[in-house]
């Protein structure tokens, strides 16, 4: 079975961008810790959700925040769980799409590298390397699943039949291919409050 059906509460999988990215977290708080505590305060009053975070994403979050500044409710309200990646299945077509997208991007990365080699005598070494890194990153990283954290968020959402909350547009694009529900962080506070009223 690809999509096990879960009864009971609606499940929400949370990405770090909800609390870390300043543009994204602003509706919750000025700092990451403030944003997390405000989120926990609101969700304590919601009765219909369960919140999850994959281990890899939790570790990423803890890298950015001071744990001792977080509300004691954190570990009760946010469940830490990775997808059961040896048992979860995904359609082969998803794999095809990643390989074809990567192939196009690998070619784009080589063109960026060749241009850098051609232009270094005019632009200078430091400027060329800086520009190369930016263009290479755009070609090979942005808008694609490129980390364990990304894959964990996708497959945990699939496994739990959960709604994914992320500010990463690339991740939303790939979640969409598997029929995963999503919501952007800017609307997440209103979404939570609507469930209380």
């Amino acid at each position: 079975m690809i999509f096990p059906l879960f009864k009971g509460k609606r499940k929400i999988v949370i990405d770090t961008s909800v609390f870390i990215n300043p543009d994204v977290r602003e509706c919750f708080g000025r700092t990451s810790e403030e944003a997390i505590n405000e989120f926990l305060k609101i969700t304590k009053n919601t009765k219909i959700f369960e919140f999850y975070m994959p281990s890899s994403v939790f570790k990423e979050l803890m890298y950015f925040v001071e744990e001792k500044k977080l509300s004691k409710d954190f570990y009760y309200l946010i469940r830490i769980k990775s997808p059961d990646k040896h048992r979860i299945l995904c359609p082969a077509i998803f794999f095809y799409e990643l390989v074809e997208e990567m192939r196009a991007r690998i070619n784009k990365g080589l063109r960026a590298a060749e241009n850098a080699v051609k232009n270094v005598s005019q632009k200078g070494l430091d400027e060329t390397i800086k520009d190369l890194r930016k263009k290479y990153r755009e070609a090979l990283r942005e808008g694609i699943i490129d980390s364990k954290e990304d894959v964990d968020l996708i497959f945990l959402s699939l496994e739990l039949k959960a709604t994914l909350v992320t500010g990463d547009q690339g991740l939303i694009l790939w979640a969409d291919k598997l029929g995963i529900e999503w919501i952007i962080p800017n609307k997440f506070k209103d979404f939570l409050i609507s469930s209380i009223k």
Copy 2:
């Protein structure tokens, strides 16, 4: 069901390398057409196999051979069929492994690009670009699934529970992760003859 069980004949999925790569096809013939015709002559006497080739791999093969030089038995003995990629499922772990492998290789590709930018003033433009392309290719292409043809061979073998015949060591490595049976082309002629005796 991930692994549908098939009764009857043993299924073999054939990669182009069996007939195209000179080092690999030598047991069958000097040219690609000779190799294919020798293969067809032998397999006409085998009763226990069915041979398959994904559409993408067939098109690749036809790019290298003159169709009119091929035995009339070709389309009877080699079945052209792509995997049912919307229905075939694969474990999420396979996806993780590809993403993690790609991430390491993307970093390696950037290092190759940066080295090229640093060395161009000494090595000259043409030599640097040539060397960059080689190193970039090694970093991002070799030993990894990087084309539709590769993915087709893997998933068709999985769907049919077939044995994959390929000279591509990278492909064997990835087929192994999904428990796909394989045989190298150099041993393929003996394998076929053994089934007749």
